[in-house]
């Protein structure tokens, strides 16, 4: 073999091996692959051409990975696939909830990233730490199934429900993951890689304080509406009785007109998820409107409009109610 180098063949990346006889075997392996019996070589096809051979892989060479070229059973070269020089640009743009105090039976948190992230690496890069900076092991639900949105920009992180729900062995033996009156932080490491395999621009964290248990259904009857004036584009403002789930707020509230048609506009979840504003695209008309609430809407502890997360069958207050949309009517003045 006289020369081995990265090349192209018919528009595809390949490794060109020059000075190789027609009948000599050529194989490519990741350099890190150990010498174990029967280890397959890298999938691909070999195109021989007058003393040279092009290895065209079935699965593209991985950037930054070194490859061994084995000719006639002998390692003849190690080449590392170049990694393009790319800057770290992805960052955490939000951690929800944004309220400082969370209920003791907090169920979930959301982390928003500015660009698409890699899947399969959450457990090593997202954690809960106590006031002293020590990881609180066993607080988060260990799951090989990571809960991303379709764009892989929003990650849902669940606290271990078995420790929150009464009557389960984990709750009985280990207790709630959070202790009232304490504080903790959700930490995202800067080594968490985006979809390009590039680490974040920086780490991120949010501080929380643990309050009391919340075991009541969400109660829209206790919400306060600030009704806009007609012929204006003033926002309808809705103040909740407690902070609600950020993810569900983006889709569980809508405004309809008298005919039930959706009113177009821009909804905004206010800081701490304690209120919601809706600014219409067109000015309000002085007719009855309705705020329609999907019964799925939950608070920070997973209690919805229709059921409490952790229902005590002996408590009549906990009885689930029919999961039907609720409406609050209002009429711009």
């Amino acid at each position: 073999v006289t020369r081995v180098f990265w090349s192209h063949r018919d528009g595809e990346d390949c490794l060109r091996i020059e000075g190789v006889g027609e009948s000599v075997t050529v194989e490519v392996r990741p350099y890190s692959a150990p010498a174990i019996e029967g280890l397959p070589s890298m999938a691909g096809r070999l195109v021989r051409d007058d003393g040279s051979a092009d290895f065209v892989p079935r699965f593209a060479f991985a950037e930054g990975t070194p490859y061994s070229v084995v000719v006639g059973g002998v390692d003849v070269a190690v080449l590392t696939r170049p990694r393009p020089d790319v800057q770290a640009t992805t960052e955490v743009i939000g951690i929800f909830p944004t309220s400082t105090e969370v209920p003791r039976n907090l169920l979930r948190l959301y982390i928003w990233f500015s660009a698409q992230m890699s899947e399969g690496y959450v457990a090593d890069h997202v954690r809960i730490v106590d006031v002293g900076g020590h990881e609180m092991v066993g607080v988060l639900l260990p799951s090989e199934h990571e809960l991303w949105d379709g764009g892989r920009r929003r990650l849902t992180v669940l606290l271990d429900p078995a420790r929150i729900k009464r009557g389960l062995v984990s709750h009985h033996e280990v207790g709630y993951p959070l202790a009232p009156g304490t504080s903790f932080r959700l930490v995202v490491d800067d080594t968490f890689c985006d979809a390009r395999g590039i680490p974040l621009r920086g780490g991120a964290e949010r501080h929380y304080e643990v309050g009391a248990l919340e075991r009541r259904r969400v109660e829209p009857d206790r919400w306060a509406l600030t009704v806009p004036s007609s012929h204006t584009k003033e926002a309808l403002s809705v103040a909740f009785e407690r902070p609600l789930d950020h993810g569900l707020l983006t889709r569980c509230l809508r405004v309809t007109d008298r005919g039930g048609q959706l009113v177009d506009g821009a909804p905004e979840v206010a800081p701490e998820e304690r209120s919601w504003r809706f600014t219409p695209r067109e000015p309000w008309v002085a007719r009855p409107h309705a705020l329609v609430i999907d019964p799925l809407l939950e608070d920070l502890a997973g209690n919805s409009l229709s059921r409490v997360f952790d229902r005590d069958l002996t408590d009549a207050e906990d009885e689930p109610v029919e999961p039907v949309p609720r409406t609050i009517e209002f009429c711009p003045r």
Binding site: A43, G138, D149, A162, D310
Partner: protein, 364 residues
């Protein structure tokens, strides 16, 4: 394959999730990013298998070498065994994000050799499993985006940029085929609900996956609607044993799973504190059906089906809880599949590597 409604085309997988075999060697494959389940004719070329075991050490190293990757860049999501040839199928993610590739790998049960299963121009069908609103549904998520995404809304002197896109997904945690239907358990990234979808197969144009709201009563006092993490049909598909994200093991009769009704299962076992169920399989030993439960905290757990049927609902959160079970001294097992009548194939982590190991059912 026309009887199953398959058409020739490309299986465009964006994330390789759980897999399971259905009728006639059709493999179901869940894709959580595109929120679809594909039914693929894998055209398995292997001869009919005998009753031999199959073991393969360092399967992660072998798959990584075949794909030309470091092992850190390869994730094996699930395994399934072809019911006729006993060839082993692995659902694999190679690399990350958009640059990643989803690969279906076949490991030959005779010699351990590895190939990738063609996914271009193959008979297949697909069904969408998203809970996300349909395109004609007004209830899309509206978020305030960063940067220049979305559309601008001018309100007086203010300009608001909004983005209409579904961010809700339902991650498939397990799936199984039972008599003309695919049962699919999922985990929503928003509400903490408990749904088991029943999707008729062949998939039809007007497929309406029945969402079955599943509850279990814990120790007679607390009711829970939590997502099912893994499940296994048994008793000829008449019963289901399901394990939740919060560890109770619950029995359902399939006949009770009527769409639109609230289904309450019978809690028959607890897996213990700080433990996660990972996979389940049923097998026959001494003429009686048993179940194996792989879990994160203990060895493989074996339960006799007749004990499940006899088990009264649990009423006290004290140990030992529920059906009698034996815990095998087999650690690190994350996936299970039947390998003929005499073996169960396990994916086992040991010494930092992954291995395929046939467990003899007579010895379990």
């Amino acid at each position: 394959m026309s009887e199953y409604g398959l058409g020739v085309g490309t299986v465009d997988i964006r994330s390789a999730g759980p897999i399971a075999f259905g009728p006639a060697g059709i493999l179901f494959l869940a894709d959580n990013i595109s929120a679809k389940i594909f039914a693929v004719d894998v055209a398995d070329p292997g001869p009919d298998a005998g009753s031999e075991p199959f073991d393969l050490e360092n399967v992660d190293l072998r798959v990584a070498a075949f794909l030309g990757s470091e092992t850190d860049d390869v994730v094996i999501s699930d395994l399934a065994v072809h019911p006729r040839s006993h060839n082993v199928y692995l659902s694999v993610q190679r690399g990350r994000g958009d640059g990643g590739r989803q690969v279906l790998v076949r490991v030959d049960s005779l010699d351990g050799s590895i190939v990738d299963v063609p996914l271009v121009d193959v008979p297949h069908a697909e069904v969408t499993i998203a809970d996300a609103p349909a395109p004609d549904d007004d209830r899309v998520d509206i978020t305030l985006p960063q940067g220049t995404e979305g559309e601008e809304l001018h309100i007086g002197e203010r300009t608001i940029r909004i983005l209409r896109q579904p961010v809700r997904t339902s991650t498939v945690t397990d799936l199984a085929y039972v008599e003309g239907a695919l049962l699919v358990a999922g985990l929503s990234n928003e509400e903490f609900s408990s749904k088991l979808r029943r999707i008729p197969f062949p998939f039809s144009d007007d497929v309406r996956a029945n969402n079955l709201e599943i509850f279990h009563v814990s120790h007679g006092k607390w009711e829970t609607a939590a997502p099912i993490r893994t499940f296994v049909p048994y008793d000829g598909g008449r019963s289901i044993l399901a394990s939740y994200t919060c560890t109770p093991v619950v029995h359902f009769s399939l006949a009770d799973l009527t769409p639109g009704t609230k289904v309450v299962g019978r809690t028959v076992a607890e897996l213990g504190a700080m433990n996660q169920p990972l996979d389940m399989v049923s097998f026959t030993q001494g003429g009686e059906e048993h179940l194996l439960v792989a879990n994160s905290a203990h060895g493989l757990i074996k339960i006799a089906c007749r004990d499940i049927d006899r088990q009264a609902p649990l009423t006290e959160p004290s140990e030992p809880v529920g059906v009698p079970r034996e815990t095998e001294d087999l650690q690190g097992i994350t996936r299970l599949a039947n390998l003929g009548a005499n073996h169960v194939l396990a994916l086992q982590a040991n010494d930092g590597r992954l291995h395929l190991r046939a467990l003899k059912t007579a010895s379990l």
